[in-house]
């Protein structure tokens, strides 16, 4: 059981992210929750490719040639950059909403009249 400790960490971080996304009223905190879920997914991808006792897949002065899997790390790099792009987009929407309504509370933003 203790060998799956990274997976348990993934589940806990992802759960905190879901909690922030569903129960928090502030839009900035919703975006923070989305980032937490995304970080959990990145950690899950990297820990899937872990080989016991392996080193990073770089040959420059490597201690050994027993390496972890390189493909999940490359895909995680892609995922991180796309996460940065979506976060910038969401935060700019939050700024526009704040200027228009004067608040970031989702209950007050939700009203459709006027």
């Amino acid at each position: 059981m203790i060998f799956n400790l990274p997976f348990i960490t993934v589940i806990i971080v992802m759960f905190f992210g879901f909690y922030a996304m569903v129960f928090r009223r502030n839009l900035i905190k919703v975006v923070i929750g989305l980032d937490l879920v995304e970080s959990a997914v990145n950690l899950f991808l990297v820990s899937l490719g872990y080989v016991k006792g392996g080193v990073a897949p770089i040959y420059t002065s490597a201690p050994s040639t027993h390496m972890v899997l390189p493909t999940p790390q490359a895909l995680t790099l892609t995922s991180i950059v796309i996460g940065v792009a979506t976060t910038a987009m969401l935060l700019s929407f939050c700024m526009v909403i704040y200027k228009h309504y004067g608040t970031l509370d989702t209950r007050k933003v939700r009203r459709l009249e006027e």
Partner: protein, 152 residues
């Protein structure tokens, strides 16, 4: 604009952040790092100066047009480098092991690392680094300009 202590620290740290970022970009094929990571490091340097001096001062030094142009030029260089190898296939590494620029043969196995290797990878690293540097910096500049407008 923040206090003089913060501005002095930003002045001191800015060149080192830039040098470290370009080091990460240029050594992307032999050490951990690459274009995205190095570009993000350089963008943090721009963010540091922007926070220390405020938007009204920084907008005279760094033009948003230049950053947008850097972003476009980076993406264009990336696509052009990918298209040059089209005689074999898209994204073909035509410079590797060819003896031209970045074309030295790398010894197999563990080695101390040689800069003049890896074919088109350093060119693509540089192109993507320029693109990410321009993109993240221009996002910071847009947000600072808009936030100042919201505050008024």
């Amino acid at each position: 604009m923040m206090s003089k202590i913060v501005r002095t620290q930003a002045n001191f740290l800015y060149p080192f952040i830039l040098i470290f970022g370009f080091y990460v970009v240029a050594h992307g094929h032999i050490t951990p790092g690459g274009g995205f990571q190095g570009g993000a490091v350089i963008a943090t340097g721009v963010a540091l100066v922007a926070v220390a001096y405020g938007y009204d001062t920084i907008k005279k030094w760094i033009k948003k047009t230049h950053l947008t142009a850097a972003e476009g030029i980076g993406l264009l260089c990336f696509i052009i480098t990918a298209f040059i190898g089209l005689s074999t296939s898209f994204f073909y590494n035509f410079l590797a092991n060819s003896g031209l620029i970045f074309g030295n043969r790398v010894p197999y196995g563990i080695n101390p690392g040689y800069l003049n290797t890896a074919g088109t990878l350093p060119i693509m690293n540089l192109a993507v680094g320029i693109e990410v540097l321009g993109g993240l910096s221009v996002i910071i500049m847009y947000m600072m300009a808009y936030g100042r407008e919201v505050k008024q």
